[in-house]
Assembly symmetry: C2
């Protein structure tokens, strides 16, 4: 007997036909003695459609975060009901459970909830009664019983966390690519599939925008020691295993992979009087509003007038909130102006020990130059280098960098 | 201070613009000291769209009633989130609560749940904190915490029951007509608005298909003694009060009103051996499946062979379930055939003491004859007469009967 948690994303359940295909696939791969939990996301673009609907009420609906969660959690509720029906209509007992029902306890930071504890008693009962248990990803409930979403991509986190709480044998993440690639194959020609990747490397890739796995889900896997198998919804092929350490030797690339993020926006507060506490007042206001700031550059523009420019990036979803805060801070600090730029993207390379080799950064910048891509901001971590560039140039930039480090055969 | 429960139906909240209009209307009519609960249905055709979606999984999704409820309850969850956002964006505190959250306890008869008790503690708390409380109609939760819907039109029931449990001063049902009419004005020219109607009369009208109010909501109003004000979403005009007794004298019409129901279907089991227990085995099987049977006719077709035909009507929503049961019973009873007719509608007249005046029935049949409408089945109650006719003829039939009893000026 194996207890397996399988997670299917929104594109795998985008239509009722696809939902039936998911059900068939799960049933085909199931031994009679297996216990199976299926975690699903909202169908296709449902979440985006719901956000768009909320914008019909208020242009910045995330102001009303509790109500956004009330709204958004319906997306997965629809898909779990339909998938459970599909199992039943194929003759297998099944039951759908929302995040609240599976005991997925979260804090009360609506739209960006974090899991604080899982009590999956009802899941265990339902499994013992012979059900396939279909669980709504991306959501839990806080101590008031109010629905709370885990932020974009939270379904992966739900799945891995639930696998951990159930002490499952493995967690399979079904997606529209057949594993983890050295870059997003939709963007970069010649991207290569990896057989294995460690939690830590995957974390850095994911943090920098590699869309296949959400960083939190990888952290969760690391925490519980649950091997995560990332594989295709559409083929039977083995995908990529994310685990603590390599079980086999893979060819040692100079960098591990390339990540990109085109859901970023740049904000700049121009002409801020250069005095102590300026950065603090700006970034603490953003932190209070739960806005994560990514790349930060402070430059002294005009020494004579002692003013500085503060430039930073945020996720596009946070842009409206950030813009209002920044406008406020601008007034308080008596700054000159606020600039917002949405036509930006971040491209990053990841590799352990990269910083010991300064030639890597030079080669990245050289590849961008050859591709005629301007670099707007550079930031580095222990194992990565990121460049903010014009969004229009993302594809050329990513391909140029990838070709530099992963020459095509 | 008044505590008022207001209920807005699906057509009143069909778009985000309409949702904002509802919010403005509630705020305009609200005194600062008032406590207001707003019960809403799913937006526009959402419920039908969700049912259609489920049909993509299985042509008879009501087989999986628990999952249907999981699916359908998302409809109201979307509208409460959006309406609460609309109140907030207009500067008033508001909070949305699902049926489960307002303590709307139901039995576990999925898709046709009945309210077994309400513990609206959270509603009271939220009202005391100064919120407008936006509640999902049509839904509650059973003892497992699973969502259960109250059947079509259940939002009215939710609203009146909640008004009762909160000991509200009144319950206002906002709808797309401006009150209760002597017939559906969309169907019958010259239909007249009533200022008042008693619970009992309204019940009979509603039972026979007058779509404005669901019978259970009227029963609930009668039970709690909550006056129900049925009024238009779009005008400020007073509508129709449903209460225990008249507070003023209205002109004494010969009949109180005309009701119709075009969501019925006729089933016939032909050539059933005429022996004791036949009706019992058929109708108990239907009852076990929670299918309500309306008009029943048993006729001896062929005395020589001692066989009979059993003809009855069910709600269209129950047709698939009923059909399967009837096919089963047909085999068991060795009947000849099963006929299904969907092109039927029921037209009824309601009036206290009608049966004491046999001329009323004759005039109804005469009006139908003049309009060249065949009568398929006739059934009567103490205060009503109903005729099953061809659906295509419904409009002519209803107008002919109405003209007979409510001559136009």
């Amino acid at each position: 007997m194996a207890l397996i948690v399988k997670k299917f994303g929104g594109s795998s359940v985008a239509t009722t036909e696809k939902i039936k295909a998911v059900a068939r696939r799960v049933l085909d791969g199931m031994k009679p003695e297996d216990k199976v939990v299926v975690v699903v996301s909202a169908m296709g673009d449902t979440t985006d459609d719901l956000i768009e609907l909320a914008r019909g009420i208020d242009k910045n609906p995330y102001h009303y975060a509790r109500e956004m969660d009330m709204l958004l959690t319906t997306g997965e509720q629809v898909s779990i009901a339909l998938l459970a029906m599909a199992f039943c209509s194929m003759g297998h007992k099944a039951i759908s459970l929302t995040g609240a029902m599976v005991g997925m306890g979260t804090n009360s930071v609506h739209t960006k909830g974090r899991i604080v504890g899982i009590e999956p008693k009802r899941v265990e009962e339902a499994l013992n009664e012979g059900n396939i248990v279909v669980v709504a990803g991306f959501q839990g409930a806080d101590s008031f019983g109010d629905p709370v979403t885990l932020g974009r991509g939270g379904s992966d986190t739900s799945a891995v966390a639930l696998a951990g709480a159930l002490a499952a044998d493995s967690c399979e993440i079904f997606t529209d690519v057949d594993g983890i690639y050295s870059a997003d194959p939709r963007l970069v020609q010649g991207a290569r599939k990896m057989q294995e990747i460690t939690y830590d490397e995957m974390l850095e890739m994911a943090r920098l925008g590699a869309g296949v796995m959400q960083p939190r889900s990888v952290e969760m896997g690391k925490h519980f020691g649950i091997p995560i198998h990332v594989r295709s919804t559409f083929t039977e092929k083995t995908g990529t295993m994310i685990r603590e350490a390599y079980t086999m030797e893979e060819k040692d690339f100079e960098i591990r992979g390339l990540a990109h993020d085109d859901k970023v926006a740049k904000l700049a507060v121009m002409g801020v009087p250069n005095q102590p506490g300026v950065a603090h007042s700006l970034f603490s206001a953003l932190a209070d509003a739960n806005v994560s700031v990514d790349m930060i550059v402070q430059s002294v523009r005009n020494i004579e007038h002692n003013v500085t420019d503060m430039v930073f990036t945020v996720a596009v979803d946070d842009l409206e909130t950030a813009r209002e805060i920044v406008e406020d801070v601008k007034k308080k600090l008596n700054a000159v102006s606020v600039l917002v730029e949405e036509n930006v993207a971040k491209v990053s390379i990841v590799g352990v020990g990269m910083l010991g080799n300064p030639g890597i950064a030079a080669r990245m910048f050289g590849a961008l130059q050859k591709a005629d891509v301007n670099i707007d901001i550079i930031s580095t971590s222990e194992i990565s280098i990121s460049c903010l560039i014009t969004k229009d140039k993302l594809k050329e930039a990513a391909n140029a960098i990838h070709d530099e480090f992963f020459p095509r055969d």
